[in-house]
Amino acid sequence: MAASGCFSVPEAINSAFNMQISLQSVSKRYGKVCALDNVTLTLEPGQIVSVLGANGAGKTTLLRCLSGVVVPTSGSITFDSKVFHRRETDLRRRLAFLPDFPLAFANNTVLRHIGMVLRLYGAAGARVEPRVMDLLRGFDLLPLVDTPFGRLSRGQAYKTALTALLAVDPELLLLDEPFASGMDPNGITFLKREARAAAARGRAIVYTTQILDIAEKLSDRVCIIHHGEVRHYAPLAEVQSLAAHPEQGSALEQIFQQLRGDGA
């Protein structure tokens, strides 16, 4: 389904997506610390999933496991029933991970970085250019096209990295704290619009955040992690209904308070 009010997506990358991503009993330990504890969940295409949790709960580890950047201590991750390993570059080309601190070669300009990412994902070509231009315009990056990455502010750097990955239009987009990345309000609004459009095209987007207001507006599903365990993984409305007093303000906030009160 094409997103309304959005730019056209190159045919080559606008094929139908229905990739199923599953985590089966995934655990990850860093020494004595258990960052993820027996996590089992399935990601559906065309959904935006917000991952919520206190600092150190295991949100980033979940995204790193999904991207192959870290290897689970136990359990497995499957993409369309195929076990995912870091060495599977074909599978990795179908997903993109953007850490909270964007990483790039400091002397590469914005355009060079975008070109590099497109090439690595096999998405380089004339048909992707209008899309890149739209994204550059949307993120206000046009005047920075010849500026080296190392000279960008954190927000600009994040927007550049995001532009490259959104231009690739992967089936699964993993974003670590995109709303605490220093992006300006225009960038945040544009990202939200893009995320919705991408989900409408069948892409799955998983992002971590601490801002519950955003999660309540930009989620199809919510995943709440507490001490490495997935406490809730359900559609937003279902999670909201778990709040003790839904009439008294933010439901997610109340759930968080409940988790804290549990002292778990």
Binding site: D100, F101, L103, G115, Y121, A124, A126, P143, P148
Partner: protein, 553 residues
Amino acid sequence: MKLKSPEIERHLRRQARREMRHSPALWKEYRRHRVRWWRRTNWSITVFSWGYLALILMAGAYRSGQLTSVLVVLSLYATATALTRTGIHLTQGLVSGDRLVLFALPVSDEEYLERQTRKLYWSWAAALVIFMVGYGIDAGAAHSLRQNWVVVVATAALQAVTGVCLGGLIRLYAPRSADYRVQLSLWGLIVACWFLPAAGIRNLWSAVLLTPSGWISHGYAALVGRAAQQEILLFLPAILVAACWPFVLPRLRKQALTELQSQTLDGPIAKWVGHVSGTVQAERAADSFPGASAQSGRLFEAADWARTSWLERLVGAWLTNHEKLVAEFMLGGQLGSWSTRWRYAAFFTAGGLVLTFAPPSLPVWLPFMPLLIAAMSAAPILGGYWLGFHSPFPLMQSVPVYAAFPISFDEITSVMLKASALRTLAWSPLFIGYTAILGLRVSVPFEYGIEVGIKVILVVMAWQLLAVVGHFTWNHASTSKPMTWRYILTVICGLCVVGAFTASAITMFNAATSLFKAAAIAGMFVSSVTGWALYRWRFNRGRVDLVTIPQAR
């Protein structure tokens, strides 16, 4: 694996520029932000690399009467560069910013390895040019370049291939020999070639036979008729080393791939991520700074100086309570390393003393090496290592740690000076005693050795204020346009101060009368104080930004 996409880049640039030209505001913004390619290039590395080429050239010109000096320098350079390039490949090839950037992208380990190997080959291509120029100068100085140009090119090529292979062998079988101290000694020796007397060069010419690069240079000398014809045979073992490459390369690939495949973000890469995101510094700070971790129950507890080693205790006794706090902060948990370094220096000094009494047939420069290593270990020649000056964000805009805390320029200066003064004084008996005995070895009076030792100590002492300024300037820069009259004036003042210091130091060593010597010593201290005071004036008036906007890497 090609990372650049010039075509798409060109198309996109053209489109972007066309669009921006319609909007004067956007075009103005674009022109304000764009950085041309020559400003994105890291010229310091280029200048440094080619500086060595210049050194070889100048060594050849300077010692035109002793042609072997060029070959000695070339041999030392070839070995040093093989170790350095191997070291870089070891440390940065597998765990580096490149790896970190590409880790989250769909790049296979094989592709990454191929890229790193290609980078290694390119770096050796630059070395090949240096070898060709070096051997060319040698042949040119002997007026035989026209006849021997094939020999020059072939020798340079063999030197480069042997270097690659030597590096590979070291990487596989003796990675520890690429230790930075060995590398530094070799780089130091190259510079020392300028000052060594003819006998020293002759000794070194024999000493380089310990290395494959030396075999090649000796073989070359024999080929061009400047050494015994039998030395041509030395090419054979060098060719054997070079011929190992087809066998070494697959093993290297296998070993590197195993290492790469075992990497995850929780391995060495994690350290890099930590550095990038600042978490490593934060953890280190939490562990070491006075406000220690809550888990250990030592929250806000100061470090116990009384329980540290003797030199730290001595410095602690001289510092006020507040200065101790500043020192702990600036040291970031490095308490204890001064005494350890002094012990290393004592060890090297003792080893050097043994060498001093070694048979006179040994090269005369040999006993100087422990002296140099001991000085680098114990003396705060560059002001010492202070973590507080470092930045937690090395890849982006960097701000030194101290800048975010209420610590003044004077407080840091005072702590550094006291620590450096005591460290220098603690090191001085070792150094002066050594120079005195070394004097006997080089047939100068015992008192002369002592005098030289005292003079060097005075230079180190006087230098400390400028070293403090050096630390402050390390992570700072003017973020405004550099070429203003103020900037130019500051650079001129800086050069004048360093020039005055150097002139005073040279005068102190050469002055005939005590009056001149005293004046030169005063000149050193005055120029050092002036430099520090001028910088302090600029710093305290807010003329210095405490941030570095990194140029292209």
